[in-house]
Amino acid sequence: MNSPSQLSPKTTTFTEESLKKQFRISEFLAEKIISSVAFLSIAFIFLIFIFVFKESLPLFNSESGSKEKTEASVITANKPETYGTASEELKPESYGTEPEAELKPETYGTESVSNEELKPESYGDTPKEDLSVSPSEETTEVVSQNQEGADKTWSTFFTTEWVPVSDNPRFGLLGLLIGTLKVTIIAMLIAGPLAVLAALYTSCFASKRVKEIIKPIIEMLAAFPSVVIGFFALMVLASFFQDVFGYDSRLNAFIGGIAMALAAIPIIYTISEDALAAVPKTYTEASLALGASKWQTAFFVVLPAATPGIFAALLLGVGRVFGETMIALMATGNAALVSANPFESVRTFAATIGSEMAETVFGETHYSVLFFIGSLLFIFSFALNAVAEFYVKGKLLKKFQGK
């Protein structure tokens, strides 16, 4: 708050007035806005998780009780009502079918074996079952199962059959889990080395001109809609690799993995390239001055120095593949099989949600299970990030960079 007469240094004196603490409104506002936006984005992530998890809560509690009603009623007023009323009345009816299911654990095993052999056809069957039940009946029936079926649903989680729409629904998550892991591993085995090596090439070997051409092109792949990649895999890659390897199911984990690798490569590439380019030139110079060749420098100095960034890039790639829905839907065959063969069809978590969420009945077990899968995806990626964080900070860095 200087008056014009105080502008020249001679007349300026340190008075309490001139040194008084000032309140800068614009700075204050900017600070608050930035922090609130930041917290908002963090809060969004948690809210999404809470929402997803809440929708799957009926699975955890067969007598979901009044507590949940009140919580759920905020978002969905209908759901709790149907729970309470429909279930108890219809319980006896559904009991007729259920004991069979509960007594069946052994038969499950045999069934699944036969199913595996007959896979394609048996999968085609499920829609038939769907059709046989009229929509209105289905709602009431399934809701009834939801009520006392929570424990039963849990017990089916660890089986291998994914038959969510049936008189006797089975929600075997193992098949989906194995499918997801299979596709993720295949995709990362392809995308990881390719992308990291491409990044290493552009940052350490390529001339400036080549780099200026290659980098935007690979990054353009990131802008490809996954539908397009999925379509490409579905039409071109699938036929091509079937001709090459001659396996039975045209769409399988391998094709899905390749397609997802295409989606993950640009992400991994961009971030690891940035990490590699951020390695100080002095390391490169020091290494070269010791008589190391270019590739020795790239592999033994630049790459280890960029490890944290490359790890982050790989993690983002895993995250992308893990949650990739459209490509999985189009290219993996969508059959929840349990096998180690990469050329068998698989069904991933994300694809399951993507394909079934629109057709499931609001509030029934299937619906809850889908949301449960959603929270599983969340938990997996959180766990992955946490483990990686600790591992990278703890072990890997020490190994490469000393204690």
Binding site: Y283, A286, S287, A289, L290, G291, Q296, V301, Q401, K403
Partner: protein, 252 residues
């Protein structure tokens, strides 16, 4: 002079169009310390980097003339730059240890030269650290990160790393410019010990350092080699006016 290690004939260097070194001709004796002095931007660092072809890394550099190391022109097309750098090590202005452990920093050079034997590596690490006069400080913490060392220790580690590949010639680009006087004196002492076995060429801004450490001094100005001779005579009785002005601090 007896025993010439490096002989430079009419060496010119261009950054694109700009001439950075103008027909340098000089002889650098073996097992002596040669200091290159001159104001900033005079080309002394550029010249130093010519000796182990580090300028190859910079695009648009073209070099004319001869750089004979033990009679072989290192800019000959048939000469492998990697092998040159194994013979001619370099210590940089800013200490640049790798983000690895102390042990790995030293072992890196021998390792890329194909030495895999652990006991042999241990031996090399110890001798090079001893030669770099830093063994006693570091022997108990070889597995620690080199980035945790002080600036002076890092620089001596870098010298040790250079020694580990047993070069003939060591180039030092202002090795002590970022260090405190104590670390500086340690490094100067080190240079003294090393010159019995190695040919050392050192670029420095510090006139006293040049006077203290070197046997020969070359004065660069605006890309030209103005004067070269015994350090004593350069500092006490310079032939050229420019040299005298620079040394006495009248310009530069």
């Amino acid at each position: 002079m007896k025993d010439i290690k490096i002989k430079v004939n009419d060496l010119s260097l261009y950054y694109g169009e700009k001439k950075a070194l103008n027909e340098i001709t000089m002889e650098i004796p073996a097992n002596k310390v040669t200091a290159l002095i001159g104001p900033s931007g005079c080309g002394k660092s550029t010249f130093l980097r010519c000796i182990n072809r580090m300028n190859d890394l910079i695009p648009n550099v073209s070099i004319k003339g001869e750089m004979l190391v033990e009679g072989i022109d290192i800019y000959n097309k048939n000469v492998d730059v990697v092998n040159i750098r194994k013979k001619i090590g370099m210590v940089f202005q800013k200490s640049n240890p790798f983000p690895k452990s102390i042990y790995e920093n030293i072992a890196y050079g021998p390792r890329i030269n194909g030495i895999k034997d652990k006991t042999q590596l241990d031996e090399i690490v110890e001798t090079s650290l001893r030669q770099a006069a830093i063994w006693d400080e570091l022997k108990d913490r070889l597995d620690d990160s080199a980035l945790g060392l002080s600036g002076g220790q890092q620089q001596r580690l870098c010298i040790g790393r250079t020694l580990a590949v047993s070069p003939d010639i060591i180039l030092m680009d202002e090795p002590a410019s970022a260090l405190d006087p104590i670390s500086t004196s340690k490094i100067e002492e080190l240079i003294h010990q090393l010159k019995e076995q190695y040919t050392i060429i050192i670029v420095t801004h510090n006139m006293q350092q040049a006077a203290r450490t070197s046997d020969q001094t070359a004065f660069f100005y605006m890309g030209n080699l103005i004067e070269m001779g015994k350090t004593n005579s350069i500092f006490t009785n310079p032939v050229q006016k420019q040299t005298e002005d620079y040394i006495t601090g009248r310009f530069g």
